[in-house]
């Protein structure tokens, strides 16, 4: 959703219009910071408090958090279900790998370029897939995702399905730090994560973000108002791709290994799973979803091999009975304010 609505006080008269609408569109709203800052603070304590494994798990949570929140710009904010977020994860990861290993670029440059590349690819694909809507869109994105997967397997220069190994992590020697150390890399990811959340939030409340929300609510109306919606939809698709690419660039460094699996529609499906379970209507829903997904999967693995059954069922139940996802549930329990209960809770 255009989550300014969850986070901003709603004005009762025209005299004080909601910030970010008539203004520069660059005010994230108090509620946003009230959630982001504590989250970051809590996360930051983990490497200090806990052994390596929690650190590693939360690195994954943050990376998937970026992936899912980016996807939600399309799903929750514009109402388009994209099934190829994995392709952009892969693009970002592969570009990072190729740039660092083949072209010897410094990692930071590779990361930046990887994000741009993923965004560009998304822009190009978007021009095609955004000729469709709704179900057709869902199916087409699924097919395009598979096209990337197939290509990644066939291209032998990048190791085909064996993938590429030995991807370096960000060089922090200037700061006297070594990112090979997971708790250092954790901080890197944490910083990128926070930045990504802020960037996405600002996009969400920006003019562009509002127009996208308008498309979600009624594209017919938007067109009769005189908006050429196609362009905005393509742009929104590119945004999702951009953050997918960012997640990929981080994953490549975290795993030091990339392979075509990153692009399978199963991965795209898991990204959707996170968004849905977390809740599409709250900006932080997808992050919650990622947190839940990674931890629950890690824990389940110790109990049973049949995690597909559990997650499949959970997914069904959430879609069926918990439209607002976990964040919706929280929204109803934690007192996030009557005003928003309906919106966040979804079922109201």
């Amino acid at each position: 959703m255009s989550s300014s609505m969850t986070d901003q006080p709603m004005p009762e008269t025209a005299s004080k219009p909601p910030p970010g609408i008539t203004g520069t569109g660059l005010s994230a709203g108090a509620g946003f910071w009230a959630i982001l800052l504590p989250v970051v603070a809590v996360l930051a304590t983990v490497p200090l408090l806990s052994g390596g494994y929690a650190t590693v798990l939360l690195i994954e949570v943050m990376i998937f958090g970026i992936l899912a929140t980016g996807l939600n710009f399309l799903l929750g904010h514009m109402g388009y279900v994209s099934f190829c977020q994995g392709a952009f994860l892969g693009c970002g990861a592969y570009f990072t790998a190729v740039a660092t290993l083949f072209w010897g670029w410094p990692v930071w440059a590779a990361m930046a370029a990887a994000v741009a590349a993923a965004g560009l690819v998304a822009l190009l694909i978007g021009m095609f897939v955004m000729r469709t809507r709704s179900i057709q869109f869902l199916l087409i994105t699924l097919a395009f995702g598979e096209m990337f997967h197939t290509a990644a397997i066939k291209v032998r220069a990048t190791g085909g399905d064996d993938g590429m190994r030995g991807i370096p992590r960000l060089d922090l020697s200037a700061l006297g730090l070594e990112a090979r150390d997971d708790s250092v890399f954790f901080v890197v990811v944490l910083v990128v994560f926070a930045a990504a959340m802020i960037a996405l939030k600002l996009l969400t409340v920006s003019r562009f973000g509002r127009i996208v929300a308008g498309i979600r609510e009624s594209e017919t109306r938007m067109r009769s108002l005189g908006y050429e919606t196609w362009g905005y939809r393509v742009a929104a698709f590119a945004v999702a791709g951009l953050f997918g690419g960012l997640a990929g660039a981080l994953w490549a460094q975290y795993a030091r290994f990339v392979n075509p699996e990153l692009m399978t529609w199963q991965i795209s499906g898991e990204a959707l799973l996170m968004v849905i379970i977390g809740g599409t209507r709250n900006f932080f829903g997808p992050f919650l979803g990622a947190l839940f997904f990674v931890l629950a999967k890690a824990w389940l693995a110790t109990v049973t091999d049949a995690y597909l059954i559990v997650f499949g069922l959970l997914f069904v139940l959430v879609v069926a009975f918990l439209e607002g996802g976990i964040s919706g549930l929280l929204g109803r329990f934690l007192r996030l304010g009557r005003r928003q209960a309906g919106r966040i809770g979804g079922e109201a």
């Binding site: 959703m1 127009i211 929300a213 308008g214 609510e217 009624s218 109306r221 009769s224 908006y227 050429e228």
Partner: protein
């Protein structure tokens, strides 16, 4: 020739002629109603005028400029705005956000040069929504939603406003409000109104075109129309005979 000029507009779905050689001349500021029983082709007519549907034949001119066959966006740019019968409001956006979207579009295409916030306030006030700006559209009363429909159309800064059954489903009280508000629209704004409710039609319009099975039965001032036998037969009979 200024204003809206429609000549010989026709549209068939398969064998059925929904609109047959429809003519309409609308001078600036004219308030014109198109009435007729269900299936008379009113909504089809609107869809063609607003570019959602391509006519089979005929011409649509605005200030002498042919707009037939252009898409909704282009026609909106030409200064024609429409409201919808089926509710297509931005359910989960606030009134303020909805109006902002409309005005932002107008500004983008240069139709709105003044201060957006001020214009937003003006239109909200005109449609008596200025105390509801922070409300989510879904939480508005039905009548308020119809007001917002009109407000959004106005926010497109149109010279010609197409209103598709603005009063459909409203209570008498809401209808009265609506008639009052429509009456208060700026004088230079042309208005084409498709409406079932005769109070609204006679309360707002100075000319009426009666459609029946896609053909124009009569096009004249309210008085003439009211007294026309064919019309009584075809349509008004039910309510006025």
């Amino acid at each position: 020739m200024s204003g809206l000029v429609v000549r010989g507009l026709s549209k068939s779905f398969g064998a059925i002629k929904v609109i047959e050689s429809f003519d309409l001349t609308l001078r600036p500021g004219e308030r014109h109603a198109v009435i007729g029983p269900n299936g008379a082709g009113k909504t089809t007519l609107f869809n063609m005028l607003s570019g959602w549907l391509a006519p089979d034949s005929g011409t649509i001119e605005i200030d002498g400029q042919e707009i037939r066959g252009r898409g909704p966006t282009a026609i909106c740019h030409a200064g024609v705005a429409r409201s919808f019968q089926r509710n297509t409001l931005f359910g989960r956006l606030t009134v303020h956000e909805s109006l902002w979207l409309a005005l932002n579009a107008s500004r983008k295409r240069g139709a709105l040069t003044g201060d957006l916030a001020a214009e937003l306030g003006r239109i909200a006030a005109m449609m008596e929504l200025d105390t509801r700006l922070g409300r989510e559209t879904d939480t508005l009363s039905y009548g308020q939603k119809r007001q917002l429909e009109v407000a959004l159309a106005l926010a497109c800064q149109p010279r010609i406003l197409l209103l598709d059954e603005p009063a459909a489903g409203t209570s008498p009280a809401e209808r009265a409000t609506l008639v009052r508000l429509l009456g208060g629209l700026p004088g230079d704004l042309s208005l084409v109104l498709v409406e079932h409710d005769m109070d609204v039609v006679f309360g707002v319009c100075e000319a009426i075109t009666v459609l029946n099975y896609g053909r124009v039965v009569i096009s004249a001032d309210p008085g003439t129309v009211r007294n026309d036998p064919d019309v009584r037969m075809a349509y008004l009979g039910r309510e006025y005979a």
